[in-house]
Structures are given as structure tokens and as C-alpha cells.
């Protein structure tokens, strides 16, 4: 199998070999640096949101207001949700996508590198606007991350903090839409020859679907924020029933964005798991085409289920949203079964990345199954807006998102930095995280079934105390696990074992280039004949694989 040698272009070297200076990062249009900026910024916001979570848990451990007053508590949980969902969860995947997608498709950068930079700066400045609400009089918003009208209108909640919240998030939303245009165009148009759509790695597919979702889900969010802002500041009455407006209008538009948002968050993570599991099972991904179609099935269905967040309103057509929500279990189940199929009869190495991926599958299983419960309106009537829902979405968001994110970090850290993260510290990270996470959230299912509502600063029912104490202990243990990761990260950046180009025997194109990649990404590009170009390249001289392109369309090993 031939490789094509790329002559290095005759460009001024100074522009390409600088690394790490402030000016370098301020003016960069290199997708790799922009990806690092996204990841670092979103992780910093994650730490801030995590501190807010610990404050919540500290207050809720026992009945009575010990640590803070009601208003402060309401601000803390509002900003916890806001930082985590809007400013961290969707952005860390965007960072990984920015770094990896051009590498995985064999391109030198994204389609619009300058606009890519602008997207990052819009995200950063928008986030700073949101964070500045902590410092204005009245403090930050205290209306929950969903900011339902009429509570969030000027009539019931005054203060600049709320307006800064809206404006900051609107700016971040614009950043997201711009980034989505960029990444979708890149994936559609900048694949190297031979990289057909059905040879794309699953992470890139996950990013494609995720960015398409952003393209169609973020505009409604911008709209609802614009409506809310007009109502707060310019006398509009969209949500005021006394003058012909409709509170339920807010809920409809918000959730038309809000449900796809959670799939926006999780789909790239599915992509990460679909990269990690095959590599550490030493087998191709089981059912590649089905995995791609499952992505689209999930994405399409995600637009049809928004009102399952509104079952308790009594104002939505229940059966339609119920069946659509239940049906999402089918493509999601396909994914889980295909991951198992990949591991089955494989040759599994339990690296930290793989441990995180396995933790993801187990924990996401619980989160997904409890989602099925919530898809049934009668059951939802019992448990909606209780800690059952809180536990459900934390199993997905913390269990799903964080395990997947850490799997991605342990997997790709060598590619980004040229060094490995410590596997020993990684195991400690995994153990403390697995224990801490389950201890924190499992008991919330039970106390939610018992009727404990969410978003309360305090509770009066004594028997809820034990579950809350356990949950708080778990939360602090989870915090310790994050500290272990940070220790691992800072230690390995400087003293980690050198990794080489391909420490894991990876499948996708980024493993063919150096760690970290050169500024134009590739010195050599192999020919692409399957969805595992790095694997094919490694086995190019292996007679066992001669002529047998490992092509999913070949139907060689299908039963």
C-alpha cells in the first residue's frame, strides 16, 4: 500500500513552530490550538460548576439552612446548571471535535479557520458575560437553568444579573451556530480523497450529527432568549397571560431546543466510546453502518420529543411524545449492543480509557433505562420534578458525559501532547470517580421516588436526611477524583512517558501523524480503503491482510 509523501511547503518557519505564547494563542487560526482553548476553558468552567455543586450538596445534606440563605441557594443551583449545561457540556466536545475532526478526515484545518477562531472567542466572551452576573448588584440569575416564564420576566425577577445571563448565553449560542456551520462544511467538503462518508470514524460521525443538531436547535434558543429579553426590557408581553401572552409558549420553544441539547451533549461522547472500545478490543467496531444510522435515528427522534419535559402541564398531546421518547431506546440500544459486540471475542486491554468507556456503558445504561420510565406520562406524573429526574439526568450528564470525556482525554492526551497520562493515577481516578459518582446519585433515585422535589433549598421531611447525607459524601468523593485527574494531568504534561505517534494501535487517521501533529497536520497521508486507515497502514505489509481491505462494505465476515 502506497503512502504519498507530502513536500513541505516553502513557508516562513516562524509562523509554524511557535508554541504556547500568549500572542500565539490570541491570534491563532489553527484548529488544534483552538481545540485546546475550548477544552481548557470549558474544563475551568466545569471546575467552577463543580464547586457550585459541592455547595448545593453541602447545604442539602441535612434539613435546615446551614450554609446559605434561600436566595443564595437558588442562585447557586441556577448557575450550577447554567455553567454545566450551556458553558461546559456542549463545549468540551466541540473542543475535541475542533482538534480531531480535520485530523480524522485528512484535512489541514477546518473549512473556515478564522471564523473558527471567532467562534471560540465568542464562547469565551459570552461565558465571561454570564460569569460577570455574579458581580452585579442582585447577583446572578436565580430562576433555574430553564428560566421558565413568567418567573423569569421582569414582573417576578428583577436585576441585571438575569439580563447578563440572557445576553451571555445568546452570544455563546451564536458561537455554537457559527461553529456548527464550520464543522458541518468541513466534514462534508474537506475529506481527503478516498475518505468517503462511510469510512469516517465514528467520532467524526458523532460530531457531524451533533453539529447538525446545533444548527437546528440553537436558533430556537436564541429566539426564546430574544423574546424573554424583550419582555424584560422593552415591554413585550409574549408570556403574560393577562395581556394575551402564553406562559406555555416559553416551555415549548425552550424545550424544542432543550431536548436536542442533551443529545448535542451526548452524541460526540457516543463517538468517543465508539473509538475507544474497538481500539482496546483489537477488533473493528461491530455494525458500523448501524451505528451511523443509529446516530441519525437518535437525532431525528430527539426533535420529536421535546414536550416530554412538559407532561405535567396537562397541555400537550401525551401519546405522541410518549411513543417518540420510548422509541429513542431502540437506536440507543443498538449502540450499546454494538459496543458489546465489539468487545465480544475481542482481546481487551483495560487501559484507563477503556475503564472509563466501560464505566460509561454501565452508568449510561442506568441513566437510559430511567429515561424510559420518564417517557411514560403516568410514571412521569409521579416522579417529574423530583430527585428521580435529577438522578436520571446526572447519570447521563455526569455518568455519560464525564466518563466519555475522560475516556477521550486518556485516549487522546498522548496525541495532543506527545506524553502519556499515568495509568496508575488513572486507575485511582476511575475507582474514586466510579464509587463517588454512584454514591452521590444512586440514592437520589430513592429519595425522589419518595417524593423529594428538586430545586429546594431545604426540606422538612426528616427521613430524607440519610439519603442526602450519603449523596453529599459521594459528591465530595467525586470532587477528590477530579483532583486526582488534575494531579495526573499536570504531572504528565511535564514528566509523562513519551508516547510516540501511535501508543494505542489506533484505527483512525490521527494516529498516522506525529504526536503532537505538525501545524499542517500531516507529513504523510496513507491511501484510504476502509474506516480504519491507521490499522490498514500498520498492517500494510502483513500477508494476512493482503488484498483484504478491511472495508465494512465488503461483507466479508458478516453472518
Amino acid at each position: 500500500m502506497a503512502t504519498t509523501e507530502l513536500p513541505l511547503p516553502a513557508l516562513p518557519e516562524a509562523h509554524h513552530e511557535e508554541r504556547g505564547g500568549i500572542v500565539d494563542y490570541l491570534t491563532t487560526v489553527d484548529h488544534k490550538k483552538i481545540g485546546i482553548l475550548y477544552i481548557v476553558t470549558s474544563f475551568a468552567i466545569f471546575l467552577a460548576g463543580g464547586v457550585l455543586a459541592l455547595l448545593v450538596r453541602w447545604e442539602l445534606a441535612t434539613p435546615g439552612l446551614q450554609v446559605m440563605g434561600e436566595n443564595t441557594y437558588n442562585q447557586v443551583f441556577t448557575m450550577h446548571g447554567t455553567l454545566m449545561i450551556f458553558l461546559f457540556a456542549a463545549q468540551v466536545s466541540t473542543g475535541l471535535a475542533n482538534y480531531l475532526v480535520p485530523l480524522q478526515i485528512g484535512a489541514a484545518d477546518v473549512a473556515f479557520p478564522r471564523a473558527n477562531a471567532m467562534s471560540y472567542w465568542l464562547y469565551l466572551f459570552g461565558s465571561l458575560i454570564v460569569l460577570s452576573s455574579f458581580f452585579v448588584s442582585g447577583g446572578p440569575a436565580a430562576v433555574a437553568w430553564t428560566a421558565y416564564a413568567p418567573l423569569s420576566t421582569n414582573q417576578f425577577f428583577q436585576g441585571t444579573g438575569m439580563d447578563l445571563w440572557i445576553i451571555g448565553l445568546a452570544v455563546v449560542g451564536v458561537a455554537g451556530i457559527l461553529g456548527a456551520v464550520n464543522l458541518v462544511t468541513t466534514i462534508f467538503r474537506m475529506r481527503m480523497p478516498g475518505m468517503t462518508m462511510f469510512r469516517l470514524p465514528l467520532f467524526t460521525w458523532g460530531v457531524l450529527v451533533n453539529q447538525l443538531l446545533i444548527l437546528f436547535a440553537f436558533p430556537p434558543l436564541t429566539v426564546v432568549f430574544a423574546l424573554l429579553f424583550l419582555e424584560r426590557n422593552f415591554g413585550a408581553h409574549f408570556f403574560d397571560p393577562t395581556t394575551g401572552g402564553s406562559p406555555i409558549l416559553y416551555q415549548h420553544i425552550f424545550w424544542f431546543f432543550g431536548h436536542p441539547e442533551v443529545y448535542i451533549i451526548i452524541l460526540p461522547i457516543f463517538g468517543i466510546i465508539s473509538e475507544v472500545v474497538p481500539v482496546f478490543s483489537r477488533k473493528p467496531l461491530f455494525g458500523y453502518r448501524a451505528m451511523v444510522f443509529a446516530f441519525f435515528g437518535i437525532a431525528a427522534l430527539s426533535f420529536g420529543v421535546w414536550a416530554h419535559h412538559m407532561f405535567a402541564t396537562g397541555l400537550v398531546y401525551l401519546p405522541y411524545f410518549s411513543i417518540m421518547s420510548l422509541l429513542i431506546a431502540v437506536p440507543t440500544g443498538i449502540k450499546v449492543f454494538n459496543w458489546i459486540g465489539t468487545m465480544w471475542r475481542g482481546s481487551i486491554t483495560l487501559s484507563t480509557a477503556m475503564l472509563m468507556a466501560l464505566g460509561f456503558i454501565l452508568v449510561f445504561l442506568i441513566g437510559g433505562i430511567t429515561g424510559i420510565f420518564l417517557a411514560s406520562p403516568p410514571i412521569d406524573f409521579a416522579v417529574n420534578d423530583t430527585y428521580y429526574v435529577v438522578a436520571h439526568f446526572h447519570y447521563i450528564m455526569v455518568g455519560g458525559l464525564l466518563y466519555g470525556m475522560f475516556a477521550g482525554f486518556y485516549f487522546w492526551f498522548p496525541k495532543f501532547t506527545g506524553r502519556r497520562l499515568s495509568e496508575t493515577l488513572g486507575r485511582w481516578h476511575f475507582i474514586t470517580f466510579f464509587l463517588g459518582f454512584n454514591i452521590t446519585f444512586f440514592f437520589q433515585f430513592l429519595v425522589g421516588l419518595d417524593g423529594m422535589p428538586r430545586r429546594i433549598a431545604d426540606y422538612q421531611i426528616e427521613r430524607w436526611t440519610s439519603a442526602n447525607v450519603i449523596s453529599t459524601v459521594g459528591a465530595f468523593l467525586t470532587g477528590v477524583s477530579v483532583l486526582i485527574f488534575l494531579w495526573n494531568f499536570f504531572r504528565s504534561i511535564r514528566r509523562g512517558e513519551p508516547a510516540g505517534d501511535d501508543p494505542w494501535e489506533g484505527n483512525s487517521l490521527e494516529w498516522v501523524t506525529s504526536s503532537p501533529p505538525p501545524s499542517h497536520n500531516f507529513h504523510h497521508l496513507p491511501e484510504i480503503h476502509s474506516e480504519r486507515p491507521a490499522f490498514d497502514y500498520r498492517h500494510r505489509d502483513d500477508p494476512a491482510f493482503a488484498g483484504a481491505h478491511t472495508d465494512p462494505e465488503r461483507n466479508l465476515d458478516r453472518g
Binding site: P150, A312, L326, D557
Partner: protein, 244 residues
């Protein structure tokens, strides 16, 4: 670190706790809630089986297929029949759950004919007012007064739920039911209590500063006691709220 040896033990522990959770749904104290309770248990049995099977497969494959050498395993790409099976079976399960859902839903939301007791519940920041239609009785809650909604056992209570300001909820955990109170809308539902007692109620839709204090009670009494309470409350004008 021997994760493969701890893995089966971990799996057993998690499954056991998950199954234990099945017993933790509150029993319903209304007829309508009974349908929800049964539906929940149906979902739980299926969920427990799915969880046990899938997590078992994950743990087993990790234990059984650990890397033992440098040889590459057979590079299987897929299996059409298997993939079809695990697409069809979940679809069938999901459709079954949907039909069960519809049946339960009808029982929960049905409001046939007239009810014996009609209460208008007005939710406001941060308590409730219960107005018994056709009588003069009213119960008003406030910052220092947790209102109690007294209803007779065995009789259909029709609640008309409205809000005076923002979105609230009417939720009594032991009825396994809740409904939002949305300003500008009247939400109607029935509750037929079949067990006497005092039940805790709370607002679950975040509604502002004292959302956590927005609690109330539903007291289910015999029909005789209800009639006498009603007469007394009507005569008094408004129960339990000083200075209103």
C-alpha cells in the same frame, strides 16, 4: 488493582441495589394512582431484566476476553441477523410498554361525569388557597400557615388548578400524581382517595425565593367528618388564616 476479579462482585451489588429500589415506590392512596403504581412495577421488572442482561454481558465480555497475547482476534465487522434481532426485540418491548402506558394513562386522567367534591386550588407565591365550590368554605395558606385540604375518603374529588402568578405544581407524593398550575390556564383532574390519613404535598415547579417552603397537606377523612368540617369552615368563613 484487579478490576476483572472485582467486576462480577460489583455487578452483583449494583443489580441488587437496583432491584431493591423496586420496592421503594410509595403505595398509592388514590384509585388513579394505583394504575400508576402497577405501571411502574411493570416497567421495573422489565428494566431489571434488561439491566441484568446487558450489564452481565459487559462484565462477562471483559472477564472472558481479556488480552492474552499479541494475536489479533477475528476481525468481525458485524452480523446482520444479530443486529436485526436486537433492533426488533427492543422495538417490541417499547411498543408493549407504550400500550401499557396508554391504558394506565386513561385511568389516571379520566374525568367522567360529575364529581362529588369540587375544589379550586389556587397556587401563588408561596402557598395555596383551597376553595370548595358550591359551599362557602375556603382554606388559605401563608408564610406561617401550612394549609390543609380536607377531603372525604371514597369520593371523587375534582380539582381545578389555577395559578395567581407564576408556574407552580400541585403534587401529593402518595397520590403518585402532579399537575402544573399555569397562569391563564385551568387544569382539571380527579383524585379519588381510598385511604384515610394525612398526606404531605409540595410545589415542585421552581417558583421563586420560597419555593422550598411551599408545602401543604391533604387530610382524607370519613364522609361524616368531612361534612361537619365543611359546615364549620363555611360558617367560619376562611379557616386557619389569622387576619385575612
Amino acid at each position: 488493582m484487579q478490576p476483572s476479579r472485582r467486576a462480577p462482585a460489583r455487578w452483583l451489588a449494583v443489580t441488587a441495589v437496583a432491584l431493591a429500589a423496586a420496592g421503594c415506590t410509595p403505595q398509592s392512596v388514590t384509585e388513579q394512582g394505583q394504575a400508576i403504581y402497577n405501571l411502574y412495577n411493570l416497567f421495573m421488572y422489565i428494566a431489571a431484566v434488561v439491566f441484568a442482561v446487558v450489564s452481565g454481558l459487559v462484565i462477562w465480555s471483559v472477564v472472558r476476553y481479556r488480552r492474552r497475547g499479541d494475536e489479533l482476534p477475528t476481525q468481525t465487522h458485524g452480523n446482520n441477523r444479530l443486529e436485526l434481532t436486537w433492533t426488533v426485540i427492543p422495538t417490541v418491548i417499547v411498543l408493549f410498554l407504550f400500550v401499557a402506558t396508554l391504558r394506565a394513562q386513561d385511568k389516571v386522567l379520566d374525568t367522567p361525569g360529575d364529581a362529588q367534591v369540587n375544589v379550586t386550588v389556587t397556587a401563588f407565591q408561596w402557598s395555596y388557597r383551597f376553595t370548595y365550590e358550591g359551599t362557602g368554605a375556603e382554606v388559605l395558606g401563608g408564610p406561617d400557615n401550612i394549609p390543609t385540604m380536607v377531603v372525604p375518603v371514597g369520593q371523587r374529588v375534582r380539582v381545578k388548578l389555577v395559578s395567581a402568578d407564576v408556574v407552580h405544581t400541585f403534587y401529593v407524593p402518595q397520590t403518585l400524581f402532579k399537575r402544573q398550575a399555569i397562569p391563564g390556564t385551568v387544569n382539571e383532574f380527579d383524585l379519588t382517595f381510598d385511604k384515610e390519613g394525612i398526606y404531605h404535598g409540595q410545589c415542585t415547579q421552581f417558583c421563586g425565593l420560597q419555593h422550598a417552603q411551599m408545602v401543604y397537606r391533604v387530610e382524607v377523612v370519613s364522609q361524616g367528618r368531612y361534612q361537619s368540617w365543611l359546615a364549620e369552615t363555611t360558617r367560619r368563613g376562611s379557616a386557619g388564616q389569622p387576619g385575612t
